[in-house]
Amino acid sequence: MLRTASRIDLGRGERIRTAQSAFMTVLFTAAGLSAIAVIFLIFIFTFKEAASIFTDPEVGKEANLHRFFVDRQDGPTLVDQFIWQPTSDVPKMSFYPLLAGTLKSAVVGLLFACPIGVAAALFTSEFASRRVREIVKPVIELLAGIPSVVLGFFALIVLATWLQHLFGFTYRLNAYNAGLALGFALVPIVFTISEDGLSAVPRSYREASLAVGATRVQTAFKVILPAATPAIFASFVLAFGRAIGETMILLMAGGNAAITSLSLEDPLRTLSATIAAELGEVVFGSGHYAALFFIGTLLFVITFISNTIGQLIIARMQRRMQGHG
């Protein structure tokens, strides 16, 4: 009774203000939910253009899972057996050359970025003075801020020549060159997430280790690093996701040759670069068009899974570390 009375006392003005606030609540909630909607829309609309592989017999004849993953031509080597030639008279659409390119460049990139990123993170969080830390972090952010087209340009014009002079590669553009440039883009990811994890290790761990006589280096390697292992692993997983999806660097620095080769000295073409290189000239609604969107769906699913795993690991570690203040 009392509550109703006081409401009436305050009159229409307050009712309007309350209604306005409630309306804004709905609006903000809608904005929050839009993020969920966007993720779903991205999946639905990428897959929708690829779905004709399964629903349209005409398209399905040209592009199908059998052709992507099973078909094999006659020939002595892998290069002759698994071929990506979607526009030839008899379209060949084996994913294996593209998968080989993606995995080769990702492995080189990760082998470069993971050790360097973690080492730099450990140095920054355990040994660097405050001043050094305040230089290193913005430097890493600037590196992260270099557009991937610029990294691709640098690898194509400059790095490839240097590497060829140094190691005498037959092909200027190869997996080393593309992978290294990709690694430049992965270092900030590995560094940032590892560094976050290392700094989140509770002080008490450090103090306990130093108190029993361990040196700072022993503490860093035997206490802090193991305690932050989940975060470091998560940083690798997230970097892997980026490596699989990165496009411009590999499109420009990979040599654009879709060949099924396991050699790091051969030029390559990744899944992502294939979309970028071919979608512009593809016949709308054709099997080739659907195949490119299918590759996109595949990339989305792979990165979605690796991102989710990475996020889960980070969230779990945060919960555990909070327990130890």
Partner: protein, 341 residues
Amino acid sequence: MSAFVEPRKRISSTFRTNRRVVDGVSVGLLGLSVVVILAILLVILGDVVFHGISTVSWEFITQAPREGLTAGGIYPAIVGTAALVILMSVAAVPLGVATAVYLHEYTPAEGPRLALARYKVSKGRPGRIKLLLRFLSAVLATSARSAVANLAGVPSIVFGLFGLGFFIQFIGRGIDRATQAPGEVVWNQGSLIWAALTLALLTLPTVIVATEEALRTVPPEQREASLALGATQWETIRRVVLPASLPGILTGGILGISRGAGEVAPILFTGAAYYLPYLPQKITDQFMHLGYHVYILSTQSPDVEATKPLLYGTVFVLLALTFILNLAGVLLRSRTRSKLR
């Protein structure tokens, strides 16, 4: 007793010198990795500045390309990039800020598990429905949070596919069907607006994360004081929370713009043009773009050596643009962060 202590001491002293060497080398190696990262950045910047700066002149940034992109400037690409980025931020900043406000101001503090447990133990008590709503709201908040994190990891080329499949083939075609004569194509093709919207989705996580960080710097007491004075939640957000977190929101906008300005993969099929003799006039026009121009000049040029100066000049302008924005964002943010401490 002394016989026991003596040898131990000796071992420990040699051990200690060894230890010191090992420690020194380890720290040295760790420090080396930082030096390597620094060197990468300096070499890239140095190379671009060294080769690029001589190309950049007033003519270069105010003239259109000539003679099949082997001469002239990059004026249309600069204008196109600017138009794209402005349109993009008009879409991304309000939505990103609103999402961050939702995530920080309107979601329950506890996670879904705790909220569910509270609901379960409340059996038979009045007001139980509120606890159920709170649980649902916690579930939504967690999903929205992980959606934002996942959005940040979607490959940029997939954004490009989505832009083509959703904006151009779905929305664009729909608008054309409804408003244009049959056969007329206005919206069902790559254009500024579709590229900008695609990029806006890509930069959304950047804006959200920065804004949320800024909202965290506003002390809860200020909100409580405002509510205690009788302000509604919306009034509190509009008059107290948002003004206090404005620098952080600005940071998010700037970092988002800097990221969006350099991305090429999403605009490959949503509106970037190889060469246009005119500047974009409407949002349904195609446009030239600095990043795309770099890609074109370095991979499709008929005469690589002749284009090289132009290429370096374009990279220089693009890097300068993204770096200035980035630096401004990072500096602004470190100011916000020091306020948080």
